[in-house]
């Protein structure tokens, strides 16, 4: 709760840092303290070095010091990145996959630049496949990028929208051709999740629709995706109109919220019980109950009933539905 706000000035949370899971290749050894790094024999060429690292004898418990010295020698000759690559080659896919379970380990060598001998690796493919995405409809890369931007500045929020929209266009969930400026805008002045506005030509037909997203859409990536989907439903509705006459705002909103619920597994909103309940309440309490045209209700009843079933299943609650 805020106190005494003379004007609506929203607090902006500082951009959150991106925290990606990082792993290092297995390092089952420790460098001998103060081990001399000079006066060593020259390192073998890279192909031989990889073969050397593959040598099973090097993994023997008693060969720890030899293994350590070998690695240090290769590191000094080829550098950290090259050694990292050689190590990956030597260990093969099975070991690399197993490596993601390990605690990252680093080994600094005195006199070297202040970076670990083996660079931390980004999350492996094996791990990415196993991980459950927040928004199944988005690619892992987009999810990672956009998620980190949700709590940031206006520019960050616009970037998050752009990233999500790009994926949505790729998957044909939306098309930019009917959008004003061919984009979805972030606007801090938009109260609620989003707003769609369309002007109509004097000769009939809609001009491109302007869609703006407000701060309420940024509570999670799932919610942002779902909210864009909602607004895009209005874009399609407006673009299909010949003129604003005969427009039913209640029907249009019921369709948009129904879309959000029907797509909730793909957007990830399904996993959030409170959001699913909120979607149903908006659909039903704010709009469905206001539709008095029996023909309109009949047209919508089947999909609204399906949406109700999904919302009840997701929330595990009995949700009011007045058919």
């Amino acid at each position: 709760m805020r106190t005494d706000t003379a004007a609506a000035v929203e607090d902006r949370t500082a951009p959150r840092a991106t925290h990606e899971a990082v792993v290092a290749p297995p390092m089952e050894y420790a460098a001998p303290a103060g081990a001399p790094l000079t006066g060593r024999a020259p390192a073998p060429p890279p192909d031989q070095a990889a073969a050397l690292l593959r040598d099973p004898r090097l993994g023997g418990r008693a060969n720890g010091p030899v293994r350590s010295a070998t690695l240090q020698r290769l590191q000094a000759s080829y550098g950290n990145h090259a050694l990292s690559r050689l190590w990956q080659q030597a260990q093969g896919g099975g070991r690399a996959a197993a490596a993601v379970q390990r605690t990252p380990s680093t080994l600094s060598v005195e006199g070297e630049e202040d970076e670990p001998i083996v660079q931390p690796m980004r999350v492996s493919v094996a791990q990415a496949v196993q991980r459950k995405p927040d928004v199944p409809a988005l690619t892992t890369g987009t999810e990672t990028t956009a998620k980190a931007l949700l709590g940031g500045s206006a520019a960050d929020k616009q970037a998050a929208i752009n990233a999500v929209v790009k994926d949505m266009v790729k998957s044909s969930a939306i098309s930019l051709s009917k959008l004003d400026g061919k984009k979805v805008y972030y606007d801090a002045a938009t109260v609620g999740e989003g707003l769609t506005n369309t002007t109509f030509k004097a000769t009939g037909g809609a001009n491109p629709s302007k869609v703006t997203m407000g701060d309420a859409a940024f509570s999670s990536l799932s919610w942002l995706y779902s909210s864009i989907l909602h607004e895009y439903q209005h874009v399609k509705q407006h673009q299909a109109l010949k003129s604003p006459a005969g427009w039913s705002e209640d029907k249009a909103e019921v369709e948009a919220y129904t879309k959000e619920i029907l797509k909730s597994e793909a957007t990830g909103v399904y996993k959030n019980k409170a959001n699913m309940e909120e979607l149903w309440k908006r659909l039903h309490d704010n709009y469905w109950v206001n539709i008095t045209d029996k023909k309109q209700k009949k047209e919508l009843k089947s999909v609204v009933t399906t949406a109700h079933d999904i919302a009840e299943k997701a929330t595990g609650k009995k949700l009011t539905f007045t058919p």
Binding site: R2, D4, T5, A7, G194, A216, P244, E253, K281, R282
Partner: protein
């Protein structure tokens, strides 16, 4: 107490040149002696839909200007509540054409605003939020004829 909360609608100018933004300010003021908890979200929407404020814009010929925006706004949250000390205000400003995109014809307009909050804030430790409906005094503004001198 209901009578201690005032709702006011105002515009930033009396006369607007065609095509310029018409800024509307919505303001809640505690004119009582005690602090009030109010829903200061002041979300603008159609009458009796989600949101706290609706406006009635009457054009030069007496016609109602239609609300054109599709607003996706849900139930308010505790973050939308504010404590208003006596004689203090909470407000929000909107560009009128964002919500009434056919608002362009020159002439005199009347703007009436209604504030309604039905959410008491549930289990707020500070006490219930103000609930009820308030009507603002109507205000007038004008959209001027296009400046002939500025025309090509």
């Amino acid at each position: 107490m209901a009578g201690e909360l005032q709702f006011e609608v105002s515009t930033d100018k009396l006369t607007y040149q065609p095509g310029t933004d018409i800024l509307v300010r919505l303001q809640l003021t505690n004119s009582g002696q005690d602090p009030l908890i109010v829903n200061s979200r002041l979300a603008l929407n159609r009458p009796h839909r989600s949101g706290e404020v609706w406006l009635e814009v009457t054009g030069p010929e007496g016609q109602l200007v239609p609300f054109s925006a599709m607003v996706n706004v849900g139930t308010p949250t505790p973050d939308d509540l504010a404590i208003l000390k006596p004689s203090r205000s909470a407000g929000k400003q909107y560009v009128l054409q964002t919500y009434y995109n056919t608002l362009a014809a020159p002439g005199e307009y009347t703007l009436k605003g209604t504030y309604r909050n039905t959410w008491g804030g549930e289990d707020l430790a500070a006490g219930p939020a103000w609930t009820g409906t308030l009507s603002a005094e109507p205000v007038q503004f004008k959209i001027a004829e296009a400046d002939a001198a500025a025309a090509p």
